[in-house]
């Protein structure tokens, strides 16, 4: 397996004009899958996830020169990705002039329109259940459930206390469980 370059080294290379583009390509390759799945679970469709991911990386390109190394690159990228997701969902809400719950229903409908969708399969029920959660609780659930992120790290990304995040995750798990058992 190809060894990944340390973030500090990548950032140093990014500051050198000669290696800037190469190091940025390596940053994309290093984090693309984690960030893609984080975004995809929020916006559901691949096309939307791809748009959000690419726009996010372009913003990163513009801001990376001013990135302060007192926070981790990984945390910073997740924060940008999360904000981009929430902005995207907000824009969709404004464009369609509907409430957020309608947008969430729209996400559920997108799931149901998937050619592989099977309402009897637990994993699909789970996805539909996740879409019923409020956006920020969905972010917390996904980061903890899928990315297995420690609360301490999540706290830095979402700028919320660890206690509040833990309570949010516990509520989310119980809501999802109830939804699945009652559907």
């Amino acid at each position: 397996m190809k060894e990944q370059i340390d973030d500090k080294e990548l950032l140093m290379q990014f500051r050198e004009p000669a290696t800037k583009e190469r190091s940025f390509t390596l940053i994309i390759k290093k984090y693309q899958e984690k960030l893609y799945w984080h975004i995809r679970r929020m916006v559901v469709s691949h096309e939307d996830a791809n748009d959000v991911l690419q726009n996010m990386f372009i913003k990163v390109w513009n801001a990376l020169g001013n990135f302060r190394e007192d926070s981790q690159l990984y945390t910073w990228l997740y924060r940008i990705a999360t904000n981009e997701c929430l902005s995207f969902l907000e824009q969709q809400k404004k464009r369609s002039s509907v409430s957020l719950s309608d947008v969430e229903n729209g996400l559920s409908n997108r799931l149901k329109a998937d050619k592989h969708f099977d309402a009897n399969k637990l994993e699909w029920k789970l996805q539909v259940a996740i879409q019923q959660l409020p956006e920020k609780q969905r972010v917390v659930f996904n980061l903890r459930y899928y990315d297995e992120m420690p609360y301490e790290k999540m706290s830095r990304i979402l700028e919320t206390s660890e206690g509040a995040l833990k309570a949010s995750y516990h509520h989310a798990v119980k809501k999802i469980e109830n939804f699945i058992l009652n559907s």
């Binding site: 940025f24 691949h46 791809n50 991911l53 690419q54 372009i58 390109w61 994993e123 789970l126 459930y145």
Partner: protein, 247 residues
């Protein structure tokens, strides 16, 4: 007893109400607490001595019954309670059902998507600069105003000729035009030479109209020329041979 009486007297002076109330303790202690208190304190003192390294007076019989049986579990419990619970442990504890399906992914990604993603992003970082053609736009603007000015001049001239106090005779085809209903049809009967002849005879507004309709935009003075010489346009117009333009 004198002092007690003094205190009571003091209280009576301060608050007759309080001094008159019966003193009753509302707090309680466990039954036999005071009977065993001294023994408990001594046992505490002995334990304290043991922790300081004085093991001589200590004995295994003084350890609570079953203490060592549960000691390892107690310590492990305390260690676990201070450890940070991992996400999967937490999920398993909260919902074994969700834990069991956590690795199922229902979403699909197009083949080769991640291999091409970085190229797609990098290609968007240096967009091509839009071509800016400044002069074309400015000459067009000038041309637009020139046409508008000429048209307005011709219209004003026409109105003046028709309504002014010293009317001069208009050509027959113009007078006929005032009476006709289908202007387009009647205009088509007039030759270009007749129109030019009339316009040449009717002053500078008409010349401007001819210029506006005939000149090549690219030959007009540039923006820099206007800035350097405010009479650039006049000079240009004076150099135009209207006889050439009408052909």
């Amino acid at each position: 007893m004198k002092s007690t009486n003094d205190i009571l007297e003091e209280l009576r002076e301060l608050s007759p109400v309080l001094a008159g109330m019966e003193k009753r303790n509302v707090f309680t202690v466990p039954a036999g607490y005071f009977d065993l208190l001294s023994e408990d304190i001594l046992a505490g003192v002995r334990n304290e001595g043991n922790t300081d390294g004085d093991t001589g007076s200590g004995s295994i019989e003084e350890v609570p019954h079953g203490y060592f049986d549960s000691l390892a579990e107690t310590i492990m419990g305390k260690i676990k309670s201070t450890q940070v619970e991992t996400a999967s442990e937490e999920t398993r504890a909260l919902s074994p059902m969700l834990y069991s399906i956590r690795n199922e992914n229902v979403f699909e990604v197009p083949a080769g998507y991640f291999e091409e993603l970085s190229n797609a992003v990098v290609s968007r970082l240096t967009p091509q600069q839009a071509k800016i053609v400044v002069m074309k736009r400015r000459t067009t603007t000038f041309f637009k105003y020139a046409v508008a000015a000429a048209f307005t001049g011709v219209m004003a001239l026409g109105v003046f000729k028709l309504t002014g106090p010293s009317k001069t005779a208009l050509p027959d085809y113009v007078m006929a035009g005032l009476k006709i209903e289908n202007i387009d049809q009647e205009f088509s009967k007039i030759s270009d030479d007749e129109i030019v002849k009339y316009l040449e005879a009717e002053g500078s507004d008409v010349k401007a109209a001819i210029v506006a309709n005939s000149v090549d935009e690219n030959e007009l003075p540039s923006q820099e020329e206007y800035l350097m010489d405010e009479k650039a346009l006049d000079k240009y117009l004076n150099n135009i041979n209207l006889g050439d333009l009408k052909n």
